[in-house]
């Protein structure tokens, strides 16, 4: 499994993240609890073990609502 450089959108902010292999590694790098988000890659829902490719567009969607 080789490392990838991907574009990540989370809470309206876009950033490039390098040296990651899976979605799980992105969440770990950003300190996000997997129970609190769903993740899409190229607009498809993916599980945390999804293997990333260079240039993938990753979107992290917060699912916690309050009030």
């Amino acid at each position: 499994m080789s490392v990838a450089r991907v574009n990540v959108v989370y809470k309206g902010n876009e950033q490039v993240i390098s040296e990651v292999r899976t979605v799980k590694e992105i969440l770990e790098k950003l300190g996000i609890n997997p129970n609190s988000v769903i993740v899409t890659v190229e607009d498809e829902l993916v599980a945390e073990d999804y293997v990333l490719k260079n240039g993938d567009k990753v979107k992290i969607i917060d699912v916690i609502s309050g009030g």
Partner: protein
């Protein structure tokens, strides 16, 4: 990771069930589990008319969608709270209308401003209570009022497992015995006035409802209510998610354990606490006027004193 039911790629890993599923099998799982919850807690039957409280968020819209799939008779009810920040209420209302039209589901909408003369924004400006507490009182009052007046059998809300366990944690930490006594997936009718309230998603996580809404292309409001940023429920949800990450299935065990041991929190089950009647609206209440009428009266008082001064 492959789906446990077929050879397709899994889109979600449900650790509490030790189950990875593809999109198609997750959708089936989600609907089937909702059906099981309705049956487990005897929430309602196919003959009942269910009012669904629709905020425009993922949980309420997904609930409405699933109840329709399962063949229940539903009617949506939305409250326009008049929150102008980020156009929040207008966008929410539009999403509800669009969903209703797309799925052929009936909906009624009440505007707080048109019916009672104020919005949550206006009340917040003069408020002593937090916006969430005021909003909760208003929603509970109007939802019950609508359910009673339409003669429907119950009121369903989209509260999910994360909502329920966050509330439970908060109530236990503060020993809120009154609230603990009342927390259940099904609150029966009471005082000949309050309609039964049910929570068909009480065992579905927030992640599941979001994943289901995404897969079914349900167009929901993703922005959070601007007033809920510092809500304690969000803090408790984060704590529960940390525990869940270390020990999968904790949230479901926590809720079910509480329900199974409910007797420890209920004195004289079935005996209704004595209440007064609100002299303004007739609702049973601890003291008259009821909390809702106090909110309306307080706002009207401020408005009339402002008019006198100007």
């Amino acid at each position: 990771m492959k789906c446990k039911k077929c050879t397709k790629k899994a889109v979600i890993n449900l650790k509490s069930y030790n189950l990875s599923l593809c999109a198609e099998h997750f959708e089936d799982f989600f609907v089937e589990k909702t059906r099981e919850t309705i049956k487990r807690y005897k929430l309602f039957s196919k003959n009942d008319i269910v009012i669904v409280a629709i905020s425009g968020g993922k949980d309420s819209l997904a609930l409405w969608y699933v109840l329709k799939l399962l063949g229940y008779k539903t009617h949506g009810f939305h409250i326009d709270l008049g929150i102008k920040f980020n156009n929040y209420s207008e966008i929410s209302k539009q999403k509800v209308i669009n969903f209703s039209e797309k799925n052929g589901l009936p909906v009624s909408i009440v505007s707080l401003k048109e019916s009672f003369g104020f919005t949550i924004d206006e009340y917040k400006k003069m408020g002593q209570r937090t916006a969430c507490a005021t909003c909760g009182i208003i929603k509970r009052y109007l939802l019950n009022d609508f359910t009673r007046k339409t003669g429907a059998d119950c009121l369903a809300t989209g509260h999910n497992l994360d909502d329920e366990t966050a509330v439970l944690l908060g109530n236990l930490l503060n020993w809120q015995m009154g609230y603990l006594k009342r927390q259940h997936p099904k609150l029966p009718a009471s005082y000949g006035y309050f309609a039964p309230r049910v929570k068909p998603f009480c065992e579905r996580t927030e992640k599941e409802t979001a994943a289901y809404s995404f897969l079914k292309k349900i167009d929901y409001v993703q922005d959070e209510c601007p007033y809920s940023e510092n809500a304690s429920s969000i803090f408790y949800k984060k704590i529960m998610n940390e525990i869940e990450q270390r020990s999968a299935g904790t949230k479901l065990r926590f809720l079910r354990g509480f329900i199974d041991n409910k007797k420890f929190f209920s004195e004289e089950r079935g005996v209704e606490e004595r209440l007064d009647i609100c002299l303004n609206c007739g609702q049973p209440t601890v003291s008259s006027p009821c909390a809702f009428c106090r909110i309306v009266q307080r706002f009207q008082k401020v408005i009339s004193s402002e008019r006198r001064e100007s």
